[in-house]
């Protein structure tokens, strides 16, 4: 593999395939500006920025280097805190703003904030009417600071957004872009990115066919998409993962296409990449997407990974259940489309055939009389895992419920439909009285667990209350979410 670390070209072939980018930076290269706070993608101290070729320029995205496998940055420019300031000692505008606003105290989280801010200032202007505060919350929601209370960091970010300053990276962009494109051309057929001996490999197939071959050749290999969950097996459980097959370069899995009746989204498309098209087709999804992990996680995590992972607390499966999405599954036999409701079979168990993979997701579009609401409950608003995630998809005829699909997360060993509650909704008026039976039926659909995030009682009670919230929002035509009111006053 080859990549640019700041302005330095690095060529590397022999390295353990489960080496993380952070481990490589800190241990192999002894570049220690990038910090390890948690090694689980939950604090942002290790944030670095990846620059990749995207269209006619470079696309910059902040990622957690602690849960990114080194092989995944093949062909990218990796920008770290060491690469920002000028050799003369002159600070990058982002760094200077942080100093001017007294935005560091202990300083340990600071390199991560600096890199997230750097990525923020290199985003194309958002087309829709996102406020600076919302942009800042989105960009920095995955960076924890335990000292400052964030106010000076917010002020530093505001100052940067109000007067964008061109930097050395803008000047070098064309050069870097050409360089990365050249590598892509060279690498087109290469499958093995890294190896350590014969049996330990990190493979990056470029097509579905190549991926099938890889899976056949390394039947024990683990598929890695964003890796935001898989990497925890390396950093937390310390498992050795000798064979990794990376899906992030598989062309078919990276496509997004819009059909008349549905969106088809490649399984290796990241949340960030899918966000514009998803929120356009499903406006109710915007709030959830902004709270799904952190920006760093959304920049890495993929829709397919979240499903294949089959975690009971993934946030997208409840939505996909409510939308009655299909999964396009490919294996040596060919391609089948499977309804997602049939996919999950038990705790982290699925119907994915051995040697197969999810190639794409097919999301049917909403009908004119569709009513879609998506709610997430968690202790903290940003970057927290749901205690309860509820997606409600109704077809309404004159306020009467014609069809209903409820997808819930956090309520059972898998993301699941609430079939009894759905049945209780159909034919009823969409009113507080009309949903009462469905509220009661949730207790028949689910026997949730009590765990570190919430008690069983809270899960049932709040899920039931969320049905009421949906009715009240429908009747009152306004949001009843407190976070909405915190911004609108």
């Amino acid at each position: 593999m080859q990549f640019m670390l700041n302005q330095t070209h690095i060529q590397l072939d022999e390295c353990a395939p489960d080496t993380t980018l952070l481990e490589y930076l800190r241990t192999h290269l002894v570049q220690r500006g990038t910090k390890e706070g948690c090694a689980s993608g939950d604090c942002g101290a290790c944030t670095v920025v990846l620059a990749e070729s995207g269209g006619d320029g470079l696309r910059y995205r902040a990622i957690n280097s602690c849960i990114t496998y080194l092989g995944a940055v093949d062909g990218c420019q990796v920008i770290t805190v060491e690469g920002l300031s000028h050799q003369s000692g002159q600070l990058h505008p982002v760094q200077q703003a942080m100093v001017d606003q007294h935005a560091s105290q202990c300083g340990f989280c600071t390199p991560g904030f600096v890199m997230s801010l750097f990525a923020l200032t290199h985003q194309p202007q958002e087309p829709h009417d996102t406020t600076p505060t919302e942009r800042i919350h989105q960009a920095l929601g995955g960076n924890l600071c335990r000292c400052t209370g964030y106010r000076p960091i917010i002020d530093a970010a505001k100052s940067l957004l109000s007067v964008p300053l061109p930097d050395a990276f803008n000047e070098r962009e064309d050069h870097v872009h050409r360089q990365l494109n050249d590598w892509t051309a060279i690498n087109e057929d290469g499958c093995i990115t890294l190896k350590a001996g014969e049996s330990r490999v990190f493979a990056s197939p470029r097509s579905s066919e190549a991926l099938l071959n890889c899976l056949a050749h390394y039947p024990q290999a683990r598929l890695v998409a964003g890796g935001t969950d898989l990497a925890l097996e390396s950093t937390q459980q310390l498992h050795s993962l000798p064979q990794l097959i990376y899906t992030g370069r598989v062309a078919e899995m990276r496509q997004i296409s819009e059909r008349e009746d549905a969106l088809v989204i490649g399984a290796a498309v990241t949340y960030s990449e899918a966000e514009p098209i998803l929120t356009h087709a499903f406006p109710a999804l915007a709030g959830l997407l902004h709270r799904l992990g952190s920006l760093q996680v959304r920049n890495q995590g993929t829709l397919g990974g979240n499903i294949a992972n089959a975690s009971p607390i993934g946030d997208m499966p409840p939505v996909l259940l409510a939308l009655d999405a299909q999964l396009r599954i490919r294996d040596a036999e060919g391609v089948i489309d499977m309804p997602i409701r049939e996919f999950f079979t038990g705790y982290r168990q699925t119907r994915l055939p051995p040697g197969g993979f999810i190639e794409a997701l097919i999301l049917p579009r909403l009908q004119p009389d569709s009513f879609l609401r998506i709610y997430k409950l968690s202790k903290r608003l940003d970057d927290d895992i749901s205690a309860v995630c509820l997606a409600m998809h109704l077809q309404l005829d004159q306020d009467r419920i014609v069809s209903a699909r409820l997808g819930l997360g956090g309520m059972a060993a898998t993301p699941a439909r609430a079939y009894q509650a759905e049945a209780a909704l159909i034919g009823q008026p969409f009113t507080p009285e009309g949903i009462r039976a469905a509220q009661r039926a949730l207790a028949a659909d689910f026997t949730p667990l009590t765990d570190v995030r919430a008690s069983a009682e809270y899960r049932l009670r709040s899920a039931s209350n969320l049905l009421l919230r949906a009715v009240l929002e429908y009747q009152g035509h306004s949001s009843l979410e407190v976070s909405y009111h915190a911004h609108t006053g």
Partner: protein, 781 residues
């Protein structure tokens, strides 16, 4: 009084001086943003460094039946193992009282308790090897409940009692009596930099320790003791911590001791860095408390008697629990006069990790109970809680604490009045009530709460500090003192003191790592005392050198001493004649004047008679007040903080930017403690909230969209360093306003007739439970 916005931002390049009172940036700000600020884990390891991993207990209580480390020893890359048998010196590293075994091979007292240490050629190899330990246990059921522990008299230290007047009689005669009990949750420090030490063996038994610790002298002492060496062979070097918050006061030492033991055993440097999960499982937290009050008041809500009991859950060993429960008791009055008081504090033992110092040191837990009482009185009488709080504030002839220290009340009174006006409390109260009447599901709440926090270590001998100042022949100055830098800007403030004292630019002064071989026998950087103590010690050192230079110049120029003046990097002997500081230093050197001095300070006036539970434990009080407004969702218990206004008293600020940073950061940290930061142990005594994925500290959007923080700038009446006041801990308790505002919003659902129970942390789940309980109570009545 001034806000930060009104203070023109000054940087060192714009204004060269940077003395006391200016808003110079943190001395490491540039290194922080460049990633060049070096933390222990960033130091390039000496050749042959080994990496250590801790093998901890998987059970919380019981005994080890058999310990088999053969597979660990045989794992790839493993070089050495260390068990209790390898410890040449002390095996108990309890910081104040015994009770903390460095390693165990028999009794298990908490989940994660260290049993052995493995060292390997890489961190990964060490951690992977540690997983291979085969340990059989006789497991018992852990006892985790504080009230059960008290009932069983499982006490870490004797209980303590403070009394004023005749509480029992006054309570009996009070026209209104109320009582309540509440659970107060603990708190994980979650410093972004975890615990880490690097031990480098030297010649003849010397050991150099790089550690992330608030208390280098204690690390030195404990390392020497476990190695069975005199203290002079151990040197501790501490440049900066990536956050401390009390979590590195005593809790940094075990890892330094283990690294040193392994380094002594192998003769190689050893680094021990706790992975985040180990850090969260193996180190102590803020103490959870159970508090009760039984109060009596008159019809106006004025307190007549307060019977208060606080139970601090110390975990398995005393650690600092004695002083922490004392401080909870010292703050059970917060800002209010309790004419008759009976305050009892218990220190109970449970089968968890040993709880420890955390910003506020028991004070916040104590304050919560009286703030709860204020709200409860208000609901009982149908008054606004602010009126009740104002009626009970310390005031003229109502100024004696339950431990018989006089309170300087005027500042508190003025603070509350000014904030009440500047935050527009009453107009907002009216608007909120109106808004709530029109909103069935969402409700808003508002609260103003004050803080009065005692400044000084309550352990008297800790109130001392030393400094060492060198002036080199080019006029540059190297400053060293006993305090440690954990982000609070201590080094910046102390350097500003020296710059002001010697009349030189701040850039002239280089602050070096805190080292036990430069300033010995230091106190922990804790109790908010860092700049009070070390600022004074450094000033003393600077004054000594100033005196020597003045004497020299006075003689040289044949002028009286009183005419010599140090300013603008010059030393003046009259209004027009001066010599540069560097030149004078050069001349003084040639004239054989010593250019190095130590400084020393001890806090005056403080004493406490524990037998009588009376005295003056605190040199002075730091005060502040906050108003917070929240919105809650009565369907889910979710909430947001909408606005906070703070007015806080730091005396004459040494550095307004740094002080405001402490206030804002303390407030948000306190808010986390009271809202989303929930420690969860299961019945087996395992900590389930053991990573930042399951333990949620505030994120950026939790900072209120409107956040007005102002300094109440009035000189400290006591002769503190430049009449400033300590600022590290007091602002944390301003966050009680958020909790109180949540209770206010919940109470609105009963038209402010019911004062809801709301234990902390007030997670959405607890808020919803409080709402449901309130609705049930309403239906019943």
């Amino acid at each position: 009084m001034r806000t930060l916005a009104e203070t023109p931002p000054t940087t060192l390049t714009e204004q060269s001086f940077g003395g006391v009172g200016t808003t110079v940036p943190h001395d490491s700000a540039r290194q922080h943003v460049m990633g060049t600020a070096r933390y222990v884990d960033d130091i390039a390891e000496p050749q042959g460094t080994l990496y250590a991993a801790v093998i901890g207990s998987r059970i919380a209580k019981g005994r080890i039946r058999s310990l088999d480390l053969k597979a660990v020893a045989a794992a790839p890359g493993v070089v050495a193992l260390l068990t209790l048998d390898d410890v040449p010196g002390h095996t108990d590293i309890g910081p104040v009282f015994p009770g903390d075994p460095i390693l165990t091979q028999s009794d298990i007292r908490y989940a994660g308790q260290p049993i052995a240490l493995v060292a390997a050629i890489s961190e990964k190899a060490a951690r992977q090897a540690a997983l291979l330990a085969q340990i059989d246990y006789d497991a018992q059921t852990p006892q985790l409940d504080a009230e059960t522990a008290l009932a069983n008299q499982q006490l870490l230290r004797p209980s303590h009692r403070m009394q004023l007047g005749d509480c029992a009689t006054a309570l009996q005669q009070a026209p209104i009596q109320l009582s309540a009990k509440m659970q107060v949750g603990g708190q994980e420090h979650l410093y972004l930099e975890g615990q880490v030490s690097l031990a480098v063996p030297g010649e003849d038994g010397d050991m150099l320790i790089y550690t992330s610790s608030q208390h280098p002298s204690e690390v030195q002492k404990l390392v020497a003791e476990v190695l069975n060496q005199p203290l002079h062979k151990v040197t501790v070097d501490m440049r900066r911590m990536g956050g401390g918050f009390g979590g590195k006061e005593t809790q940094a030492a075990p890892w330094a001791c283990l690294a040193a033991l392994m380094a002594a055993k192998t003769g190689q440097a050893v680094k021990l860095r706790l992975p985040r999960k180990d850090d969260m499982v193996m180190t102590g937290k803020r103490h959870p408390f159970v508090n009760r009050y039984h109060i009596g008041c008159d019809e106006q809500g004025r307190l007549l008697a307060a019977d208060i009991e606080v139970i601090g859950n110390g975990g398995h060993s005393p650690d600092l629990t004695d002083a922490i429960v004392d401080r909870a008791m010292f703050h059970a009055d917060n800002a209010y006069f309790l004419p008759n008081a009976d305050i009892r504090g218990h220190r109970v033992a449970t089968d968890t990790v040993s709880h420890t110092a955390f910003r506020g040191f028991g004070g916040p837990q104590g304050m919560l109970i009286i703030e709860r009482a204020m709200d409860d009185i208000a609901r009982h009488l149908g008054c606004d809680p602010l009126d009740i709080r104002k009626r009970n504030l310390y005031a003229e002839k109502r100024d004696l604490t339950p431990y018989h220290q006089q309170v300087e009340f005027a500042t508190l009174q003025r603070l509350v009045t000014e904030l009440e006006q500047s935050s527009d409390y009453w107009a907002r109260r009216k608007a909120i009530t109106q808004w709530n009447n029109g909103s069935a599901i969402l409700k808003r709440g508002l609260a103003l709460t004050p803080v009065k926090f005692g400044i000084s270590f309550t352990l008297q001998h800790l109130n001392q500090a030393g400094a060492l100042l060198h002036i080199y022949t080019d006029g540059s100055i190297q400053l060293n003192h006993g305090g440690t830098e954990m982000g609070q800007g201590l080094h910046t403030k102390v350097a500003q003191v020296v710059a002001s004292t010697l009349g030189v630019d701040l850039q002239q002064i280089r602050i070096t790592a805190t080292r036990t071989d430069k300033v010995p026998n230091t106190s922990p950087t804790a109790a908010s005392s860092g700049s009070d103590l070390n600022g004074k010690a450094a000033e003393q050192a600077a004054l000594t050198l100033k005196q020597r230079l003045s004497d020299f110049l006075a003689e040289q120029q044949a002028v009286p001493l009183s005419q010599i003046r140090f300013s603008d990097n010059q030393v003046w002997w009259d209004d027009h004649q001066s010599v540069t500081f560097a030149e004078l230093v050069q001349q003084a050197y040639l004239a054989r004047i010593s250019l190095s001095a130590t400084g020393y300070y001890r806090t005056p006036k403080i004493w406490y008679d524990r037998e009588k539970a009376q005295g003056r434990p605190f040199f002075y009080f730091a005060t502040g007040a906050a108003v917070s407004e929240v919105i809650i969702d009565s369907l889910t218990g979710e909430y947001r903080l909408l606005q906070t206004d703070i007015l806080h008293d730091v005396g004459k600020s040494l550095n307004p930017a740094i002080d405001i940073g402490q206030i804002e950061g303390g407030f948000i940290q306190g808010m986390g403690w009271l809202t989303t930061e929930e420690l969860v142990w299961n019945a087996e005594g395992q900590l389930l909230s053991n990573s930042p994925a399951t333990y949620k500290i505030p994120a950026i959007s939790d900072t209120p969209p409107i956040f007005n923080v102002r300094l109440f700038e009035q000189a400290n009446a006591e002769a503190t360093i430049y009449h400033s006041k300590a600022v590290g801990e007091p602002p944390l308790m301003l966050a009680i306003s958020v909790w109180s505002a949540l209770r206010d919003a919940i109470s609105s659902l009963s038209d402010y007739r019911i004062s809801p129970d709301l234990d902390t942390p007030a997670t959405p789940e607890r808020v919803l439970a409080a709402i449901e309980a309130l609705k049930k109570q309403q239906e019943a009545s």
